[in-house]
Amino acid sequence: MKMGKTMIGLGLIFAIVLLGCTETPKTTPTPVPTTPIETTPAVTTVVQTTPTTTPIAEKTPTTVVTTPSSTPPSLTGEIKVCALYDTRIPAFKANVEALKLAIEEINAQGGIMGKKLELIHQDTQRKVDIAITAYRSAVIEKGCTVVFVEGVSEEVMALLEEGARIYPSHPHIMISPQAGMESTLKVIEDYEKYKFFFRSLPSDPEMNYKVTKVFFDIAKDVVRAKKVALFLEDASWTKCAREGCTYNTKFGSISSKAMKDWVKEEYGLDVVYVSNLAVGEKNFLPILETAAARGAEFIFVLSSWYTDTTTLTKQWASSSARNIPIAFFGGTAQWINAWSLTGGASLGTIVMTYDYEDIPLANSNAGVIIKKLHERGISLDTSTHYAYSEMLRVKEAMEKVGNPDDIDKVIKAIEELEFKNHTIHRAEYMFFGYQNPNFHSYTGGPTMIAQFQCGGKPVYIVPSDVLAKGGYVEESEKVQPDAYKSPAELRKTCK
């Protein structure tokens, strides 16, 4: 049991390796954005929709114009749906469960044109090589015509190339909540090659601007803050918020200023502190204390699953910043059981959450789905709803086409479909066919934001006018921005 100098070297090497382990690279997570807006194909700051010669979709949602396929539909066999997810990640497990639920419901109603759906789950371990093998196996060997893929950028980018190679011989559809504009740009720039890919998230400028704006409506009009601190996850999907961004496409240009700039310009809020959060960070006290020392009156955290929002919440509740309202974009903070995860430290936190059975959404099915998934032990973030809803959209598209096997036409139908059955968003925000930089992506808009109050009960505090302006009229009458209470007040009153 001798221990020599080599031990010291070994120790250091090990520590460095561990350091690497704790800092997940910029893998572009599944951020968990949410809703969209305007009926026009609006994009963040600048949009010039240039007409294209590519015969794609209409500019506004229309009810399907696809003509029935000339190929007679086969009424036998199954439609295979593959789900490529690492289910050790709770959000990805939830996506698979949501797909299972959607497929069970579709099958209970007789399937799609008499064909039953079969869900095949394959583990990717979030590794590109394994994901590619699983994807090839899913499409070529297992015959999946619809493939759902977890939102890990490097995986999706690799699968896009693989998919383009095998699409001619094995037509299929790929859907992923991948954050990062590059996949959308590929579809726009080379439609014929990448048309099989749909991204169930808004484009980056939309995500970092339109989807996050509502938090600052709350900061200004509900919390009445004047000074804000911004904690921005340091991942590729937040580039627009951290630095600003512009993307030029053949459908026009889309851009967004850095968050610190538009928050100041549009809301008149002083940004007193900006800190980038390292992916995997566990020690948030220095930034919380600094935000408090700089006099912040509202903290916004642009987070995804790669930011440990549970720890951040616990440390916030223990720090000098505990009386500063803190708002989370994504991560475990979105779950209703964030309350138990943090031992109640989430009291007073403001979160985008679609995990509450009594959520005030016009679509009453949302609450039912949430309940059903809760019964399966699943907590939902926005991507869970996306997975469930996209399966329903595929069904509608296949039925409109009249032949589930004619994938080219199904893709066209998905682009043209005015999909009204999305559990949490309005059709105009989910429309895939806009001939603008949101093509084959969602469009950003206002979201449902709640504050955790006594006992972890979420109270939705989005300003009514913001929701109404975004088209959520029914919802705007149900939210309670006046019910907002400061964290200090809640700590005093909640026992």
Partner: protein, 290 residues
Amino acid sequence: MLAELSLIVAYTFIFGSMYLGIALGFTLTTGVLRVFNLAYGAIFLIAVYGTWMFWNDLGFGLIESIVLAIALVSLFTYAVYRIVILKFAELEDYMLAALVAVFVIIEELIAYAYPEIVGVYLPTTIYGELVSFGEANVPGQYVVTAFVSLAMLAVYLLFFTRTKNGFIMRAISQDMFASKLVGVNFNRTFALAMIIASIPPAIIMLLISPIWALNPYIGWSVFTIAILVAVLGGLGNLKGSVIAAYIIGLIQASVGFMLDPRLMLLVALVVVMAVLIVRPKGLARAETIW
């Protein structure tokens, strides 16, 4: 500036003391057994998830659950000693691989039984208010953790300087061969050292869990701190570990509050490397545990 200075001083004390508590057991294992116990990270997990299991799943009271979890941790370290360390005593490379394997197995088992969605949380907060230090405020629970850590150090020191078993362990750490000649019962002493070493990290983890990350994979990041402190301190020297813990605490507090919180661990690593280039055996040479 004064506020910044207050924060740096306060958090140097907090981080330093906490890191010391995390590394105490690892220092003891390397000092007495001369074993680089790569299964050490599993102790943090077993302490927290064991307590949760006894408390939430088996219905014991919180205090009983903590006691039972610490007993479980001790049992685990004893089993590691008997099954892995003794078995591979003469095959150091294999021993290291086996110890890592033990850690990963524990981690995966816990991840399987208690995935994050379960919502594991322990109400082990002793003091939840803020404590003022100059112009800075620090979480009361951190202050409690820091003092508990120092108290455990004091107990260790008393043990090594006042008890027979402590003397024996120091003797082994100074000269294993001579200790053997005078009839020291190695197996018994090693097993005792392993068990004693497992208690401080378990207690520290239970104390910081209300304000620290808690998931089945947290063992690695806490273990990183233990390694850094032990390596910088001289691998197995308590005095060295005390100095190293506060140096790393100072670096992290300074970098966190004056430079960029993202660089806290990186700068600490770079400084440790730089120190080791100058002093390859760490700050205090591991010729004795004290």
